[in-house]
């Protein structure tokens, strides 16, 4: 099941996430490239699906628990689990243990997995010690901190460090980069008016930054921002996942 060439630093399990699987496979391929460049062997468990976050946030705890057990079973054999999404990583790290507070056996398993689960750039910098991103990309890039990556996982410094290591990338400041983009999962569909007004503000800041591309670490937020940019007539500003940016072509 491993991707060639086998890395010498051991195996990591890649949790692709359902949105990446469905919408943007290049994010997963870029993640594999980055992890391999860091010397790891990447394993992609085939039966993986979704972390259960949509149901969890909608108040459907029962189905969230079912899916959490599935993820735990599939990934608990790895020393490290890497997720190219701050919010799905946050689901495993923060919310899986909460789901099983009344179930000691599963609580322990959830806690053990949570402790070994990382957002992609967090793993690359904090665990793998990567200081130089392998990809080539040229242009100015603004980085947006997606909420769960920032506030649940503590991802802030890591993507910036790697972006700054790329010789042809100029990172520009994005005003209110820690403010929510207004995605919020089903929120964006249930309350489109509010969500639209919030993402509009984000797009205005992106334009004001003058960046050629905006990079971020969560596909939901990417689709929200890209969709709004396109809707408002901006066909140019690239919306790129940080994995795609760092791995480059």
């Amino acid at each position: 099941m491993t991707s060639a060439p086998p890395g010498g630093r051991g195996e990591v399990g890649l949790f692709v996430t359902c949105l990446v699987d469905l919408m943007r496979p290049s994010v997963a391929f870029s993640s594999i490239r980055l992890l391999e460049a860091a010397g790891y062997t990447v394993v992609v468990p085939e039966a993986q699906t979704c972390c259960g976050q949509p149901g969890y946030n909608a108040g459907d705890t029962r189905s969230a628990r079912t899916l959490a057990r599935k993820v735990i079973r599939e990934f608990e054999r790895f020393d490290h689990v890497v997720v190219p999404s701050g919010s799905c990583a946050g689901m495993v790290r923060v919310h899986f243990p909460e789901l099983f507070v009344d179930d000691p056996a599963w609580h322990a398993r959830a806690g053990a997995l949570a402790a070994r689960t990382y957002e992609l750039t967090q793993f690359l910098v904090d665990i793998a010690g990567m200081t130089q991103a392998p990809g080539g990309f040229s242009g100015s890039v603004a980085y947006h901190d997606s909420c769960a990556g920032l506030r649940e996982m503590g991802v802030k410094r890591q993507p910036r460090l790697l972006i700054d290591s790329m010789p042809d990338v100029r990172r520009v400041e994005l005003r209110e980069c820690e403010e929510c983009c207004g995605f919020g999962g089903l929120f964006s569909v249930k309350y489109p008016d509010i969500s639209g007004a919030i993402v509009q503000r984000k797009c205005e800041h992106i334009h004001a930054s003058g960046a050629y591309a905006v990079a971020l670490g969560d596909l939901g937020c990417m689709m929200n921002i890209e969709g709004r940019l396109r809707r408002t007539g901006d066909g140019l500003t690239q919306v790129i996942h940080v994995a795609e940016l760092l791995a480059g072509e």
Binding site: V20, R24, T49, G52, S63, P192
Partner: protein, 472 residues
């Protein structure tokens, strides 16, 4: 106050379409958040103070009845009377009784959100007693036909100076004044006779100190001081959860409350009021009452929602909320707004009366991060969503979609078939374009933005193909 939260979606639309409100929201946006951030530097260890404040509030709630009894004992020993109100209506009745007993014709009020909960002004007026709001913001709202506040500590944050200029000129019949100082002076001139003539002062209470039976009031205008010392009768109206054990605890909470609220190291006034006027005292009321309201609070003790009772009403959560800052406080439809309102309103007014509030949040957790007493607001909103699901309050389309997704995601074969079909469908909709402008299945999404087109195949298909290629 009558609840209108069931009309949230319509109220939001109206407010998004109100250019003046949108301008005002933009102008004030981020201001309090920036002030808060700047002021935290004045604390040598914010996290430690926050942890201490959290523990003080949490420990009180563990023995709420005992602390309230202690408070009642100490306050009574100092000449005050402590009355308990089951709900807002009872609080109004008790206060009207007090007014009648002491022959009160007019009441000066400093800020009290519980008074808004109870609809006290309307009740007083119906009883022939004239209430006068003396907090400048509340005064503005009162003369604007009793408009409700849109923020718990800055009740008129939704209004521009120009709107106040116009309002004062119209109601006071004076020349329009644009300068804030002149406007404030004009309000003062109106309020002075009210202070001098009032028989009763009504205040809220930021904290009730159990060991001394005192109420602590945090204000910036000094009106609280006048309300509580000049009239013969002082009534402090607040919620039962506001009790804290000691003056030391008060000192800790005062280090974090004004900083979280307005970014001040300390508010302009902190009043600590204890008992009635005694011989030799320069001022103070001859009669002092506490009206402590349950209003749904006691039921939360020991429940999943107990952490919400730690709230010290600083407003930081709304000052940092992307939704609040986009739609303003009135959209929420009741006394409490923003994230804390989205939790409190359904708990106090019935989950069914405020279904949208806990749903209309992105769960970005800015609120949870800034809350000075560490209330996990997004978790509590999620718990309220759970309650809605348990009680069958969600629309059938949402329930069906959730169940179908959970069913498929638990079965890899079904999931991958669905994923493949979804990608094919979306690619067909995109028809070669980079994004989809209209999508029947999620009209909410495409009413505001395009839906980016997916790649031609799912990752799992591409990956399997690649690996087969390598193997052969």
């Amino acid at each position: 106050m009558e609840i209108r939260s069931m009309h949230f979606v319509d109220r939001v639309r109206e407010r998004l379409d109100d250019p003046e409100l949108q301008r005002n929201l933009k102008r004030t946006r981020g201001r309090n958040a920036a002030a808060r951030a700047a002021s935290l530097g004045g604390l040598d260890d914010f996290d430690a103070v926050r942890a201490r404040a959290t523990e003080i509030r949490a420990s009180v709630l563990r023995d709420l009845d005992l602390w309230l009894e202690r408070f009642e004992r100490e306050a009574t020993a100092r000449g005050a009377t402590v009355l308990w109100a089951h709900d807002g209506d009872e609080a109004c009745r008790l206060i009207i009784d007090i007014a009648r007993r002491h022959d009160v014709r007019s009441v000066v009020k400093s800020k009290s959100m519980v008074s808004e909960e109870a609809g006290l002004n309307a009740a007083l007026e119906a009883a022939g007693i004239r209430p006068v709001e003396t907090d400048l913001g509340e005064y503005i709202l009162q003369i604007n036909d009793n408009e409700p506040p849109s923020h718990i500590i800055m009740p008129v944050i939704h209004k521009s100076r120009e709107q106040v200029t116009e309002l004062f000129a119209r109601v006071h019949g004076t020349e329009p004044k644009t300068d804030i100082e002149a406007l404030t002076r004009e309000a003062r001139e109106r309020l002075r006779p009210a202070f001098l003539g009032a028989d009763m002062g009504l205040s809220g209470g930021n904290f009730l100190v159990a060991e001394t039976g005192s109420v602590a009031i945090v204000t910036n205008e000094g009106n609280g001081r006048l309300c509580t010392t000049m009239p013969r009768v002082h009534v402090a109206l607040t919620g039962i959860e506001k009790v804290i054990p000691t003056l030391d605890d008060l000192a800790t909470l005062l280090r974090i409350l004004p900083r979280s609220a307005t970014g001040q190291a300390i508010s302009n006034y902190v009043s600590l009021l204890t008992g009635t006027k005694h011989d030799g005292d320069a001022d103070g009321p001859a009669h002092m009452y506490f009206v402590l309201v349950d209003g749904g609070r006691a039921d939360l003790v020991g429940s999943d929602f107990e952490p919400m009772l730690r709230c010290i009403r600083c407003g930081a959560c709304m000052n940092h909320c992307p939704v609040y800052q986009t739609v303003g406080g009135h959209a929420y439809g009741w006394v409490y707004t923003g994230p804390m309102g989205s939790v409190l309103t359904p708990l106090f007014q019935g989950i069914g009366n405020a279904r949208d509030l806990p749903q209309a949040a992105t769960l970005c957790n800015q609120c949870g991060v800034v809350c000075p007493v560490s209330i996990p607001l997004p978790d509590l909103m999620r718990k309220l969503r759970e309650k809605q699901v348990e009680r069958g309050m969600r629309p059938w389309t949402e329930r069906l979609a959730m169940r179908a997704w959970a069913w498929a995601a638990a079965r890899p074969w079904a999931y991958s078939a669905c994923a493949r079909a979804a990608v094919r469908y979306l690619c067909w909709l995109a028809g070669g374009r980079a994004s989809i402008p209209v999508m029947g299945l999620a009209p909410g999404w495409t009413s505001q933005r395009d839906f980016p087109a997916p790649a031609a195949r799912t990752f799992r298909d591409m990956y399997a193909r690649q690996r087969r290629g390598r193997a052969s």
